[in-house]
């Protein structure tokens, strides 16, 4: 997983370090883990920082670039609940850390 998404992004923001990984300056703007998104917010899916298995599984469940993800509940340490493509899903915190959104 080296790249950013293939959606055009305004350039010029500084590179961010997410989970210890250097992001390239062009694609790194405001890309953050889903776990950092507050309840009620809607964000767009960018990518999953994980192996092929989880990537493919999430893609089948509707996590494809630019899909809207609405966070229904992010109450630490409570459940992490989101809506993706009209389906309500619960995620473990570990997965929510790996899903990158903007």
């Amino acid at each position: 997983m080296t790249g950013q998404n293939n959606v055009a992004l305004p350039a010029g923001k500084a590179a961010q370090t997410i989970q210890g990984q250097e992001r390239s300056p062009a694609g790194g703007i405001q890309v953050k883990p889903l776990s950092k998104v507050d309840t009620g917010e809607t964000v767009r899916f960018v990518r999953v920082d994980a192996g092929r298995g989880l990537n493919s599984r999430l893609a089948a469940m509707g996590f494809v670039p630019n899909t809207a993800i609405t966070v229904v509940s992010n109450n630490h340490p409570g459940p992490f609940v989101i809506i993706v493509k009209d389906a309500k899903m619960m995620l473990g915190r570990g997965v929510a850390h790996k899903i990158m959104v903007k």
Binding site: G3, G53, K88
Partner: protein, 684 residues
């Protein structure tokens, strides 16, 4: 009569099972796919002169090679070639559900879409232009309501029409865009030329798509290194263009295809759709209330299974003891006593031993059906996932393990709620360590016999805790060794809450009950009869038994029998545990069921276990053994070899005798080791 085979594919929670039940009614057959703990359900129905075989494929989101369920589903479609594949789609969540449909279209399977739960979709203000959508997807679409049986006839009509039509030449398929299509065409051409076996088996286009997706199963079947290299080059090329895995881009394109098809054909008039479910979820998954609610519901499940289940169980026990007493009472004195014993102690008590579990199993599955059909089960999994994850198990594993404190047999059946094979096997293997009700009868004899009243509670508690701790340790160990593998990160769909329908719950419950009787029942019955024979043969000569009291006769028979001999033979082995031949014999005699240990001890000491003189048995035990030995016996009974019924269940649910044997042997070794340790240290 003409025969056609159809396969039901669909997402988890699409209502596939209820549609399957409504199509086939009671005419179904449940088994496991060979070698894996994935359920294979088949059923039959008749329609317009056709005998239709319906195969229920595992619920999946996709058809990749990443999980056993998905592999099974796609192998079935590709290799067994059903006449029609019915894609069961949750009509209230079309977009996500059609993803699987795009893959079925790609596989070129003759396809019918069942837009299930169409009542719910209507309620949510979704309007479909089915005619147009059907033209775009090039397949018949039938609205259905699985749990109410609506749309059944129309669906069967569509299935027959599709079967008669056979494969069609498709106009619309997912277009992956210039670069990917280019690479696909290259690989497809190479497959046709160099790998005709792939083209023959799966179709060249599909194989090429899967190869670009880096599908391990298809890659393995590629025979030429050049083709492999070609694929790697293509993937690397695409990766450099997209800065992402080609398979992700392809998933994106599939979703693009779907939204293209849906845009024109689906209208939504209501925006809010999760409101009621949301408010229920706010309560049941609340961080303070979630756990108590879950534990409360588990208590109700346990109560229903074991406390309410006790009454029909007593009824059955009484019926069988009445039957046994009647047969014994009318038996001519001194004629073919072995035959009487076979009938009474072998067959009647064996059949009784099978049926006695039935009320528990029916009630447990009634409770599980209610929890699952209402949509709560997914939430329960989440509530427990944090804790269970630490020991390498899935949140849902908690439920079968809890049931295990009542009885391992229904508990092992309850592992069917787990979708992942490794989770399921691990749970099955450690369930016997949850101290079941049968073992309580052994504790009830031994604890008062050896321990003063103020020690009795703590000793019982220690036994349960030892079981739980060992269960946790074994689960961890299994996940680190034999059942190693990525613990699936927790992602789970939360289906909207629904009112379970009585019909669906009824069918589900009866199915399980029948399956238990047919599968496990026969093995349990067989084992009881074999063990009866071992405890009664060879018999001592008539002269030895002449003039002895009934109890003394039974004592002599047992000691002379195979069980008694084996019990004596293993004495040197069990000596280091503090056990003598009497305990050895009782342990061997208790192989069919743990509670038999008490009655076997009764026979050895020639005191009737049935009459109320167990206190005298306790006295005799106290005279012969120290409290340490008593504790060691209980420890050994707790950990060692599960009962025959449990072994039969493990065999059935894991799909192989190997796992049952592994469980049996390793638990016995574990019991031996721990008891040895406790006895040797305790003696100092």
């Amino acid at each position: 009569m003409e025969q056609i085979t159809i396969a039901l594919a669909g997402n988890p929670n699409s209502g596939k099972s209820s549609l399957f039940n409504s199509l086939t009614g009671a005419r179904q057959h449940v088994a496991n796919y060979p070698g894996v703990t994935v359920e294979r359900k088949e059923g039959y129905c008749r329609h317009k002169g056709y005998e239709i075989k319906v195969v229920d494929l595992p619920g999946t989101y996709s058809l990749t090679a990443y999980s056993a369920e998905e592999l099974i589903a796609r192998r079935y479609i590709l290799e067994e070639g059903p006449d029609v594949v019915v894609d069961v789609v949750d009509a209230s969540n079309i977009e996500r559900n059609l993803y699987l449909g795009t893959q079925l279209i790609e596989m070129d399977a003759p396809l019918v879409f069942a837009f299930n739960m169409s009542d719910l979709a209507k309620q949510r203000g979704l309007e479909f232009n089915l005619e147009q959508l059907s033209r775009l997807l090039e397949a018949r679409i039938v609205p259905t309501v699985g749990n109410k049986g609506e749309g059944r006839i129309a669906l069967l009509d569509a299935v027959i029409a599709a079967a008669q039509q056979g494969r069609i030449k498709r106009v619309h398929t997912v277009q992956y865009g210039g670069e990917i299509e280019e690479e696909r065409a290259k690989i497809e051409k190479a497959i046709v030329e160099r790998e005709p076996q792939l083209a023959e088996k799966y179709g060249a286009r599909w194989s090429a798509i899967k190869l670009i997706e880096h599908d391990e199963e298809i890659l393995e079947q590629v025979q030429h290194q050049e083709i492999r290299d070609l694929v790697s080059t293509s993937i690397a090329h695409l990766r450099s263009i997209f800065h992402d895995e080609p398979e992700i881009i392809m998933a994106d394109r599939r979703y693009g295809f779907i939204s293209g098809a849906c845009q024109e054909t689906i209208k939504s008039s209501v925006e809010l759709r999760h409101d009621i479910s949301d408010s229920i979820d706010a309560i049941v998954t609340n961080r303070v209330l979630g756990l108590p609610i879950f534990l409360g519901l588990m208590y109700v499940t346990f109560f229903l299974t074991f406390t309410v289940g006790k009454y029909p169980m007593y009824g059955l026990e009484m019926l069988f003891s009445w039957l046994a007493a009647t047969v014994s009472g009318h038996w001519p004195i001194d004629h073919a006593l072995w035959l009487r014993s076979l009938l009474v102690d072998g067959i009647i008590s064996g059949v009784g031993g099978v049926l006695v579990f039935l009320p528990n199993i029916l009630l447990l599955f009634l409770a599980i059906a209610l929890l699952e059909d209402s949509g709560y089960m997914a939430r329960a999994a989440f509530v427990m996932d944090r804790t269970m994850h630490r020991i390498g198990l899935h949140g849902k594993s908690f439920i079968p393990m809890l049931i295990g404190f009542g009885c391992s047999v229904p508990a092992i059946m309850a592992t069917r709620i787990l979708e992942n094979r490794r989770d399921r096997l691990t749970t099955i293997l450690v369930i016997p360590l949850m101290s079941c009700g049968a073992r309580l009868t052994v504790y009830a004899l031994f604890i008062p016999a050896f321990f003063p009243p103020h020690w009795q509670g703590p000793v019982l508690w220690i036994l349960y805790v030892v079981g739980i701790l060992l269960g946790v340790l074994c689960a961890k160990l299994l996940r680190m060794t034999l059942l190693k593998g990525e613990t699936l990160p927790f992602v789970m769909e939360l289906p909207p809450y629904r009112m379970p329908t009585s019909k669906a719950v009824f069918v589900h419950t009866c199915q399980r009950g029948w399956m238990y009787l047919r599968k496990a029942g026969t093995i349990i019955l067989g084992a009881s009869i074999v063990l009866w024979a071992a405890a009664n043969f060879p018999r001592p000569s008539r002269q030895t038994l002449a003039g002895l009291s009934e109890q003394a006769v039974r004592q002599q028979v047992l000691q002379y029998s195979l069980v008694g001999r084996v019990g004596r033979a293993i004495e040197p082995v069990i000596r280091p545990l503090g056990f003598d031949w009497k305990i050895g014999t009782a342990l061997i005699g208790a192989i069919p069921a743990k509670e038999l240990f008490v009655s076997q001890m009764g026979i050895i000491y020639a005191v009737g276990a049935e009459d109320q003189s167990t206190s005298s048995l306790a006295d005799r035990l106290r005279a012969d053994y120290t409290p340490l030995v008593g504790f060691c016996v209980m420890l050994f009974v707790l950990i060692s070899a599960p009962c025959a019924a449990t072994a039969a269940m493990t065999r059935q649910e894991s799909g192989s005798w190997r796992w049952a044997a592994f469980q049996y042997v390793s638990l016995t070794i574990l019991a031996y080791g721990i008891t040895l340790l406790v006895f040797q240290i305790g003696r100092i």
